[in-house]
Symmetry: D2
Subunit: 360 residues, 4 copies
């Protein structure tokens, strides 16, 4: 019952990984926005499996079909429905999952919650569900660019213990796409790629951190006291598969400082009020202040590994299972477009909510 995100730019995803299709409905997108299938496909292609030697070798076409809400290349203001058909679902890879709970997957909790699950795959807990998010996010992203000139760029900041030095405000989208790990620091990217290849070779997996920066966000977005912009971003990020943490601005490391070190002094930047430092991460009191919005999300190492593991089966027997199937040894590179999508959804939703109340 929690498959809808947003209040004004309202997104509902549907579909299990091994059902017929996955998709999304967007309700509330403003009319008269240029929208093509290509715009959505471009983002889906960044997300899709099999795109590089360090991602899963499953090949899914992931072709988007826009079923409603667009007429002669423009949005109608009515719900936009997008579907992506599933294919290449080698369910035999999953046969033993009928009775096994894979460690640190959602098999057990779905069974415990609903009393049933589509054991042929991860069902709704599969990363495949994020296709709907990315498709909807592509629309939101385009809206924000066209309406406010806002840029949303995410990238891999750390894989395992390999961390890139990156100055968020100067990262360009093409730099992120210039290598398969989506880290704009090319030297570090190479190290990350090697680490991921090694993890795969070991039948193991790696986690890390995705950082995201929003440039030229409108000032004034965020709806205190509960729907603060950073609170909504936190929810958006932690709702992603494998995400275990969120921090904005100085985040956890800022807790080691004192107030006099941490406060961001205000200055005039031309006509607008700005800050000299950005420990706030572009959000103060839950509202965007016009500085770049900068936050980080922690992704745990992929739960699917090729090593033997202890677990139990649905009958209550303790058993050993061996990983099978084709999975990413590290979700980070493919998480990048998903982080951008969720960020776009949060900002578009809040832009519409804000202008509803304010009339502009």
């Amino acid at each position: 019952m929690g498959n809808t995100f947003g209040q004004a730019f309202k997104v509902t995803t549907w579909g299990e990984s091994h059902g017929d299709a996955v998709g999304v409905t967007v309700d509330g997108c403003p009319p008269l926005l240029d929208l093509t299938t290509e715009l959505i496909q471009d983002q889906l292609d960044r997300r899709k499996p099999g795109q590089s030697e360090i991602s899963t070798q499953r090949r899914e076409g992931d072709k988007a079909e826009i079923l409603s809400g667009v007429f002669e290349g423009k949005t109608l203001g009515t719900p936009i429905s997008i579907a992506v058909w599933n294919s290449d679902a080698r369910s035999k890879d999953y046969d033993e999952m009928k009775s096994l709970y894979r460690p640190s997957h959602a098999d057990f909790t779905y069974q415990a919650k609903y009393g049933i699950r589509n054991w042929k795959g991860g069902g709704r807990s599969s990363a495949r569900e994020t296709i709907g998010r990315v498709a909807a996010g592509a629309i939101a992203k385009s809206f924000l660019e066209l309406e406010y000139g806002t840029q949303i760029i995410a990238y891999v900041k750390r894989v395992g213990d390999i961390e890139a030095e990156i100055y968020p405000e100067s990262v360009r989208a093409d730099q992120v796409e210039s290598n398969i790990v989506r880290c704009p620091n090319q030297a570090t990217a190479d190290l990350m790629i090697d680490a991921i290849k090694l993890a795969r070779k070991n039948g193991d997996s790696l986690g890390g951190i995705v950082e995201c920066v929003v440039l030229d966000s409108p000032t004034g977005l965020g709806e205190p006291v509960f729907d603060k912009l950073d609170a909504e971003l936190a929810k958006a990020m932690v709702s992603l598969p494998a995400c275990k943490g969120f921090e904005i601005g100085s985040g956890f490391s800022g807790t080691y400082t004192t107030g006099s070190q941490h406060n961001d002094p205000f200055v005039m930047k031309g006509d607008r009020v700005g800050t000299t430092t950005n420990n706030s991460g572009g959000v103060q009191g839950g509202i965007s202040n016009g500085e770049p919005i900068i936050f980080r999300s922690a992704f745990k190492p992929t739960a699917t590994i090729m090593k033997a593991q202890q677990t139990v089966d649905v009958f209550g027997n303790e058993v050993e299972m061996k990983g099978r199937g084709r999975h990413d040894p590290c979700v980070l590179p493919r998480a990048v477009p998903i982080v951008e999508a969720m960020t776009s959804l949060v900002l578009a939703d809040h832009a519409l909510r804000h202008r509803g109340q304010m009339g502009n």
Copy 2:
């Protein structure tokens, strides 16, 4: 427009710090629950200012009045309205705030968003707003205890760089309350208290981490894919004043491990499926798995300090301001009951949502 939290146990807070009152309405609380003013007051007293030598010396009575929804000591199933009158509002302390934007406060962003603000205090961005959260949370906490035997305990894990070694599952509520910093490790608590006193003496402030553990949570709570239990907790925490980060289970540090280290093996614990480790933090696929739910929230150092700071005024002049007023040099001790309250709201809401769909 974001002053409501929850879908089934629905909480709406209202009130500015320097208006007449602050309060909350709870819609959706089940009927026939025992509810007294004392139950609410006990939690408000843990939150209130002036309670110890390391908190602000403002004295606010913070007496709760239940205005509706309760009859002969029991809830009616109708909205519960609770008000707390404001007092001791020394607005002269705030006079210069009429024209100044305090660094890393919400003065500027509220003005930018709404074109107006109650400059006599922090308004809705004041920690005073959390009174409504704590009052509502007290009801939710009681519901969870009575209905499911669930215990929610938060405590100060770290202040500045002073971190306590604590085994979450064995912390008792009375240990948390045994010292004024609300750290259940007494030796570390003393060091924290000294550090906070020193920060105050320096006219400065400290941040830190609150950790929270939920014992005997019902299994199956959380509504994928967006309203996952951990995603909702993330939003609840980051919606708190001064909170800059959230992590659950292994969180950010888990990203340094490999999948084979990180996965939580399943075993039978008597009749139920459990895990031998708890890197998941009690939530898998966004749904509680029956293990203790463990998460941490990062609170930045209090923005109000007594040192001189650079800022701008509402006319666009760059000026120097000096801190005044009476404020906490560290919000952590008073944040503890607030973290518990928000956690209670998330869990009660999800308990009601779950049993709506499942019928039990």
Copy 3:
């Protein structure tokens, strides 16, 4: 759990008739709107009991207190909380209600639903709950007037079988207020007053119809396919105590006509597209078309009567009860400001939702 109305202009009412107070919280009201207690009190005075010889003789001061959301006479964009203290609650009038279910009241259904009720009065089902609606509606009404020049005027169209001939588009607010039954046709008003007095004398009660017209509504309000403007008005009206029906434009009588009689031909009215007839009642496809919005609500005769009636008690005995207490023999005159309030809430909510999506 259904005490909130609206999505963008969001109103939550609380309070039982014989509790301490009743009130409302408005979340989403735009900032910088002029708002005084008088503006709210004026509407509450139109609703309050004891205002004339044909209404209940209970005297309730019904004084509004604004507790938050307003600063120096202007709204802040934060939640506006309004409370009205209860008084003159002669609960002894209600003593026998502890064990009796009054026919066609909500005593039985509340007990059946919640397992508990505040038997000292009607609780949430009391017309007293509408105080919160009227207070919030006064704000919405003012917003619509100031922002769009919209006028919302309701009046009594029929009492029992006494129906007034009224041309909706030319009714003025002062005409409605010129007599105690709130029927702008003075001759018919006198007949209605006599009929109500006679009903009271007989220990009986009357029902009737309130008609409402909205002039100069913005074009384009209403959110198909479920939140159509007329659908939302229908819900708003039928949610009122004693309301059993709703119709817009030609309504039920239009079903006797043919399409060629019923269709409203389009013409140019100056620069704008208008219609020569208005069987649509100002709403087409669920969206306002710029013509006057005209609808009617049916209110049943007041359930509280002074005659003896058959009923059962909470122990399952069939008993006879006699009406007591002080009640309106006809709710229509006092329903007029309540209908206006609910209409204002619907329109303000949709105005904000529309401009959120459209950006103006």
Copy 4:
């Protein structure tokens, strides 16, 4: 932005009449419910065009495809996505609509609201949109039957001025289906059919009334004060294309009676509290009381007629247009399954909401 209905059993419809497909997503349906395509198709077949000589001769296959949420014949508790492909869209029938506003259609208001419309047909305002409602309603209906034994039966009560005498509580579903006009009184049905045929011959159309009865509804459904059961039914009905009014129980005619005539005396009916009359229509104080729920919806005569009409074009010219295309001369027979569907959605939603709060 209003394409979602319900809070716990949450339905989102999408699709324009002349786009690729129409469909619906249901979020919140309980798991482990038996669900087949046939169950949905049966209801769609009752709704589909071309089913009889008195409905439109457009032939649409209207074949439902379940794309997600069902596994091995049972619901998963995850979103159920259903799509129906459009076909037989003779858009040339609509060519002149590119520039014309059809009287009493939504062409003008959609254009005015969104600045764009899919002029090839009615878009979202087309009755075709109700396919999604009927598909979702079929699931809700089945849930109510299986879980509570609830029966929901609608039928045509009146066409034009031909009204059938029907005793709602004894109508059986097979009687409704026994003739093409869906009036369970066979003699009156014949008159209705003749009247509809005559209207078509004249190039004109008829309206009328659909009555609906709910038998064995659970007691206690409805969420005061805004989401009362009757208020939600009112919204559900008036949100349907061509619906101009709603009344429950005695409705508008009850306003001619006095309280002593109108009140429903309580009696014991075996173990349960019941009423001897049912002017309340099964709902008191907005909550179901265990008696049959009975209400009526008014449908205007179909706006599409074959006669010449005055209108304006998009350029502001006043012009004459002639009706074309294939349309129902009377929507009532096909409205019957749609009314049942919306009623099912309201009741299922409230059943889930109620048991969330009450725990059973």
